[in-house]
Amino acid sequence: MLMAGKLSWAVITLVFSVLMLVALYLASKKIYVPQIREHAGIHAISEAIGRAAEMGRPVSFSPGTSSIYDAKYAGDTAAALRILDHVAREAIKSGSKLIVGIAPPTVLPVAQAIVKTAYTAEGKAEEYVEGDTVRFYSPDQWGFASSYMGMMHRERVAANFLFGGHAAEALILAETGATVGAMQVSGSTNVYQLPMFIVSCDYTLIGEDQLAAAAYLSPDPAQKGVVFGQDLTKLISVALIVIGALLATVGSKILSAFLRS
């Protein structure tokens, strides 16, 4: 039996999922491969890493302080890990030292595996130092923040990437990065911390930008299909808002009644 008030959720989740999966399928079969515009922040990632390599200074990365089973920011963390894979490969290729700072213990084994695999894939497995390349700082937000700050100062990082679910430590990390002169690219779905990233980082992937970047950066071009699916569902949302507001203007509450059901 369907629970009261969940009908609209079931319908929307189902319709949106089907659209996304169809778009993904069409792209994987090369029936329709969408042209996706590149966010300036993605290009900036390579630029920042190149700059760090020129300066001979390290690249740092934080995939956030939310665990992978977080009930709100799990997607945020997953996207950050996808971007970590990209950053790690680029940094290793450019010859820069990579430092990944980790707060949630559940993210640690994943980040270790990603970075280790990236080093092996680039044929530099011996440069990966257990416990040092991927550093576990503290599961506590402030314990992590103090370590990450100290690290940025002492290592004089030249490129800093802050992705995933950061909380109130966001501005502290980003401003410290600006202080040590790092070029910074960030992203989050935490709407309260995005403003902090926007004011103190060079480029910020706002909310969905970061989640779409996770698909965009995938080595498999078919994954871009899902981004087109996202666009379709957004256009549906736009249509729902416009039609619903017009209906409300003429006195019909049918759409908001559906959304409440």
């Binding site: 089973y69 709100k72 994943v110 506590d140 402030w142 981004v227 736009v238 017009l246 959304l259």
Partner: protein
């Protein structure tokens, strides 16, 4: 011997000031504060994790076996999966860790999906459905549509929308500016709280000491840098 309350105040004040010195520059006092904080929080987390495993898994497992309750006995599984995580370090058995990670990731992603579709998507669309009877609600609908169109990534669709995504970007920047400024009061309340605790004896006496050390350091560094 100082009583525990006073010694707590003196230690915590020293730590507060040591952490604040990062605003001047990275230095040994900050490093002490930083490393004590990491040690303390990791230690705390270990204690919590042990209690968590005991209360959430071990006790349920015990009572499960005692009463023959299957759901209780099943708590052996997450404990095995917990151990699997450590195979991460073995090059041959690494794939075992992926099973444990799959469980955690599945829980996180599905909880996020259900919550975010319900609260963010449906809740916000519903919130936008006001009758277009005044300037304000018309502006709101135009604003939210433009901002949504900013998030359209497919090139052709994005181009078709004309200047709307660009306007949407301005709307988002306005939002970001507003939300940035709106957090300030809360953050200030916290720093005011910290400062209030510093401005009472015996904590009070440590502030001038900290400032003197910083000034001395600044002077020494300046002298040191003049010859070059």
């Amino acid at each position: 011997m100082i009583d525990p309350a006073t010694s707590s105040i003196l230690i915590s004040t020293t730590l507060i000031l040591a952490i604040y010195t990062i605003l001047y520059r990275e230095n040994p006092a900050f490093r002490i504060g930083e490393h004590l904080m990491v040690g303390a929080t990791v230690g705390n987390a270990i204690v919590l994790a042990i209690f968590q495993i005991r209360d959430l898994a071990w006790r349920k497992l015990q009572s499960g076996f005692a009463t023959g309750n299957i759901s209780g006995m099943a708590y052996i599984l997450p404990m095995i999966l917990g151990v699997f995580l450590y195979f991460q370090f073995s090059s041959k058995l690494r794939y075992l860790a992926r099973v444990s990670i799959a469980l955690m990731l599945a829980v996180g992603l599905s909880l996020s999906i259900r919550g975010l579709i319900f609260v963010n998507v449906i809740g916000q669309i519903q919130g936008a459905l006001a009758p277009l009877t005044n300037i304000q609600s018309i502006a709101y609908v135009i604003g939210v549509v433009c901002a949504l169109l900013y998030f359209v990534y497919e090139r052709r669709a994005s181009n078709m929308a004309g200047p709307l995504p660009k306007i949407g970007r301005y709307v988002l920047m306005l939002t970001m500016g507003a939300y940035f400024a709106n957090t300030i009061m809360g953050r200030l309340s916290i720093v005011i709280g910290t400062l209030t605790s510093l401005f009472v004896a015996p904590a009070w006496y440590l502030i001038p000491v900290a400032f003197l050390i910083i000034i001395a350091d600044a002077l020494i560094r300046r002298k040191g840098s003049t010859p070059s």
